[in-house]
Symmetry: C3
Subunit: 425 residues, 3 copies
Amino acid sequence: MTDGTEMYRLMERLFPICRSITGNGVRESLNIIGEIIPLRITEVPSGTGVFDWTVPDEWNISDAWVKDPQGRKIIDFKKSNLHILNYSEPFRGKVSLARLQEHLYSLPDQPDVIPYITSYYQRRWGFCLSHNDRLKLAEGEYEIMIDSTLEPGSLTFADLIVPGKSEEEILISTYICHPSMANNELSGPVVSTFLAKHLLDGPPPRYSYRFVFIPETIGSLTYLSRKMEHLKDNVIAGYVVTCIGDPGRFSYLRSRGENCLTDRVTLHVLRHSEKDFAEYSFLDRGSDERQYCAPGIDLPIGSLMRTKYGMYPEYHTSADNLDLVTAEALEGSLIKYRLCLEVIESNRTYRNTVKGEPQLGKRGLYPTLSTKKSGEEVRDMMNLLAYCDGEHDLVAVAEKIGRPVWELVPLAKKLYEHKLLEIVA
Amino acid sequence: MTDGTEMYRLMERLFPICRSITGNGVRESLNIIGEIIPLRITEVPSGTGVFDWTVPDEWNISDAWVKDPQGRKIIDFKKSNLHILNYSEPFRGKVSLARLQEHLYSLPDQPDVIPYITSYYQRRWGFCLSHNDRLKLAEGEYEIMIDSTLEPGSLTFADLIVPGKSEEEILISTYICHPSMANNELSGPVVSTFLAKHLLDGPPPRYSYRFVFIPETIGSLTYLSRKMEHLKDNVIAGYVVTCIGDPGRFSYLRSRGENCLTDRVTLHVLRHSEKDFAEYSFLDRGSDERQYCAPGIDLPIGSLMRTKYGMYPEYHTSADNLDLVTAEALEGSLIKYRLCLEVIESNRTYRNTVKGEPQLGKRGLYPTLSTKKSGEEVRDMMNLLAYCDGEHDLVAVAEKIGRPVWELVPLAKKLYEHKLLEIVA
Amino acid sequence: MTDGTEMYRLMERLFPICRSITGNGVRESLNIIGEIIPLRITEVPSGTGVFDWTVPDEWNISDAWVKDPQGRKIIDFKKSNLHILNYSEPFRGKVSLARLQEHLYSLPDQPDVIPYITSYYQRRWGFCLSHNDRLKLAEGEYEIMIDSTLEPGSLTFADLIVPGKSEEEILISTYICHPSMANNELSGPVVSTFLAKHLLDGPPPRYSYRFVFIPETIGSLTYLSRKMEHLKDNVIAGYVVTCIGDPGRFSYLRSRGENCLTDRVTLHVLRHSEKDFAEYSFLDRGSDERQYCAPGIDLPIGSLMRTKYGMYPEYHTSADNLDLVTAEALEGSLIKYRLCLEVIESNRTYRNTVKGEPQLGKRGLYPTLSTKKSGEEVRDMMNLLAYCDGEHDLVAVAEKIGRPVWELVPLAKKLYEHKLLEIVA
């Protein structure tokens, strides 16, 4: 079974669960992911202050429906958890159509889909439905049942450290607060899970990896409020993983500073491995990079996506379902993220050790058979020796000489082994 | 009566006066302006050294003419003060046509207009006339009368301080040395006068404003020779106001450094308020910015104009008359200068005070009714919070996020009042 | 006789000599050049370590040929010294055609020319011939005679210092290791010789000039290994002179840093004196700049060429002969190099001495007759006074104001004599 298929199956298991920024849906999801990678679960009590915010009451829901005047269930949480306004307070009662309308949410422009709507910080109740269904509602009295709880509890998040040889860290952050939607957001946790799995299955990496599964916004703020100093001291690169399961072209959203290691590496990888991709400035931000890159925090975090949130019509609707993502796209995304991480792992700042050009021939570094490939290798080696001056890292040198860094890494290692390059700390 | 009409009327009063770099024409003009704003007049004696220059003798003139062999006044100062070579020494006598020709100035390429010619630093006498009139001159003896004086006296300038809350200053410099020409130069003093009037009529501004009415070149050098250290210590922005009364598009001439506050503000204002405008480098300089921005002085001074001197055919001729300027253009120019000054007044360097994004909702900063306008406001507020990092001022942030700074100012104030932004000194 | 004709005649004398990176061909060539300029010859023993390299054994050759089965000399060193694989070890014997083929070098794509091939660091014997001649070889036994020696001796190089008023140096490096080829390389030593001659014939220059005639690569490494600290302390600009005799357009290859004085000067000269020229990055390097600009050495060395090595089909073949270069091209190249050196000689960092603009008129610096030329001079003087701020040198100011620096030099001197500009050390 390919990674893509495994990721798709994991997504199928997670898809039906009704998640929110708190509650049992998050816990259940993290338990499933925890079957694959050893997560550390943390509960943060409602009411805990996190920077400018407060962890809200915990929300749980078991059922919800609307019955029409004839007693038929015309809206049913059990058919789609998007039908309930996320974080709806409990409610039971009968209301007129006019009163009901005040609690309904639909999209006139996309009349066939159920929108995804939340009200985390203002107590409300409500239902979401397709606009076509809404238009069919007749006058009369409707019966409402929302069997939810909204009470002090806790916010749940998980993290996992893959220890590396260095205390310097790569941060991989993804969110687990959306109910049944596939690309945004299950693609994020699913690809992150398999990224972690691969790192755990392999030899200890150079850098330590911190995987964070959190509810969006309040979760990253909560995490930062507990770990900010550590993260500021140790994180050298990282990503917010989201919208990474559709077959669209890749896109990259830069960090606030727009030229951190993550930016340089990811754009280098995309330029040298994709015919076409989209590039977004931090002005287009929309997920947890808003917190990680905020002034005064300034972590080097970008977001490698496929089709960005807000840029595809199914976004935040019931149409963002399992048909929108494919095993192939998930597999390709995993490979792309692994390539970025490999580039970060292999990136070094080298300095040449001899004055002038070294004599490659006496070390057997000149190919004995001259081919196009061997000619390129010699040229690449000479360029490495000419541009590795102890100030530019390998990614910068690769950009300068217009070559993919993964072609240069083995040559740099060879030159290092022959003591023609040394590593600058 | 609109500002534009009032400015045009002031220009009509000033137009007939024969001004030069010294003399009673300047005093008379400053007296008229002094009816509107309280000018402080300074007289600097002839012979006073100003840097590399010396204040020249004072020039005054009451009449001048040329009579043809038939005794007809064919050139008459009383019909146009441009007819006299500005700074002509006194002369009386009869001369042949050949001798007269050596003292005549005309423009073969613009045969209908009288050119404006000066000889401040070399004693000469002469007359200016249209080339067509010059061609009509017949052989014979011409009678010349120039009733001028060129004797020790003084150079006259005026200034006015509008005190602000800060000792930091905005310098507004304009020149009052040209005889009867409208766009270059009366538009400059006229707009400057009304800029000062508005500041005096309003509440005390944040910055102090220094208005300077001087003869061009020798006047700015004289002013700098007396105030340079003070100006270098206090001036944070400023303009040379000239060529600002015609209905042409706006133009801006950058300071020598090309990126001072005045440059950034004015180009931002033009980009966000004009469909089209011209931008000039300091290489195209031609007025008192030559002195204010000279190496070693380096004041942050640019020049916001409409059609730049030298770029319109009427420049420095009798065709630069009251028909060339309009009340509407003057009004629009005043408004544009006021907008630039308002931007400077409201510009601040802010820093966000909370870690991560703040929760706008709990402060009522989220609009209760969602409209396109309110959506933009939220986006602008979030961008302010993301980019106000204590290093970039509001104008820089506005440029970064592509929004006119005057849309951001009230939002920044609101965020400041809610203690989400603080001001960096 | 023009410089161009003299250079061409010198090239004719040098052309027949069989040079290599060591040996009597080099010595004979340097002796001929030494008739024109006083060279200091240095011999460096074989086996001497130079950075990562070792000076190889010395190679000399007196004759070499191949006789076909009928006893006819079908390859003859005496007809063209390119026929011998440069650095061939001695060999005598009879070989089959199949065995001979392993020692033959030809160019199937350019079947009419003899290629230039070397094997300095691996002992081999071989012959080079046109591919058409190679195709004619019939089966049978061939007699081989290579009367060469490859034994401990020394590497020969020459240098020459033209002392200037300053200890700061300009380095002119050219190579003398190629056998009978004209553009690459004899144009280099020939133009360098006449550059030195002109400097020696003239008054003492401002800077000292160091001319270096060396075998390529091993020679520059050898020279650097002896003089590196001195060169790093003193060289402010310099060139590798090569491929400078053909009538093609000029080209310039930048130093590794891409913005040193040599880069700025040469590109300024080309921009203001040539309609068209080629510009190469250090990525396109191929000659001794590889050593001079290596990390840790970092001399400010570029290469002003005409058609760059590798960019013309005759390169490194028998077709790079005396027909490829012309006296006119050599003359133009000499003039261009002299112009670059004159620009370096006259380049200064000036600072204006007065506040504001000075009064040019009282010093007689305003032209008494107004012409287009005099108007330009005034504008240039005012621009010099406005931009000479003690931070930008004359070349930078010339670039800023878009004028050739050689038009500005006499004006800057005039302003300096009038004490309006001072020189910043």
